[in-house]
Amino acid sequence: MSETLAPLTDPALAGDEELLGALRLGDERAYVALVRRYGALMQRVALGYVRTPAVAEEVVQETWCAVLTGLERFEGRAALKTWIMRILTNRAKTRGQREARSLPFSSLAEHEHDEPAVDPDRFLPADHPRYPGHWAAAPAEWSQTPDERLVAAETRDCIRTAIASLPPRQQVVISLRDVEGWSPEEVCELMDLSENNQRVLLHRARSQVRAELERYLTSEREVAA
């Protein structure tokens, strides 16, 4: 790696490696670029573990503090974003556990039952003579919903609410995979998950969000009809 101070041409477009180099040299623009790049994700992931946006914000700040003071020791064995997100999830978890202990009931327990992707009542019973496990009735059709509708502000609100109501680990996995575009390997590394567990969490999360989206899109249709 070159030790020369190459000026950052456009921090927003620079790769993490380049930003890391500049950050080590105290370049404020590199820091701002990293905060812009990962700030929203960090806030979202932190909210999966703690109760309020204000506490999540504190966790994000503590994380940047730890990143800056830990820069010297960071050897680059993991990717920068993995390192940052690992610090964040560790802190958020600790904070969440502390909050849970100080409250009479823990609403932060992970409700990760083996919930089916689709309500079992929507399928014919396993002992059905001809079509066991087949759809009992056609699923509501909404896959051809126009893009404008799917990315409309209200639909996005509905999706964010659906994600926010998932158990923490599912929120983190769906955010990293489907919002941030992380690879399965990167998610496994960050969260210490096996490939299969990562997939199971992603599956439950996507299935739940699909169900919420269906409820939202089809109830609107009834109102319109």
């Binding site: 999540a56 089916p116 799917l150």
Partner: protein
């Protein structure tokens, strides 16, 4: 149900993520594809999952970081001054 029997709709909806991630063993993948070839309702379901994935990707567009940039900049400047422990 034996391993080489046809896949049911209920089974398919639980395997859709494995399918999309290309993580199904070849035999299950073949059963999955064979089911899709005959079941328009499951085709619709898989299409819905695909739309869900892209809608999730768009859902956080324009959502700003919660923590204020001003506070985070103070943090950085403090670090540069050596004020951060």
């Amino acid at each position: 149900m034996s391993a080489d029997a046809g896949m049911s709709c209920q089974e398919l909806v639980e395997l859709v993520t494995h399918y999309l991630e290309d993580a199904l063993p070849a035999a299950d993948r073949a059963r999955f594809d064979a089911h899709l070839a005959e079941c328009p309702w499951c085709v619709e379901y898989v299409a819905q999952i695909a739309r869900t994935i892209s809608a999730v990707g768009a859902s956080w567009r324009d959502v700003e970081a919660g923590a204020g940039m001003a506070e985070l900049l103070d943090l950085f400047r403090g670090w540069k001054r050596g004020a951060l422990a």
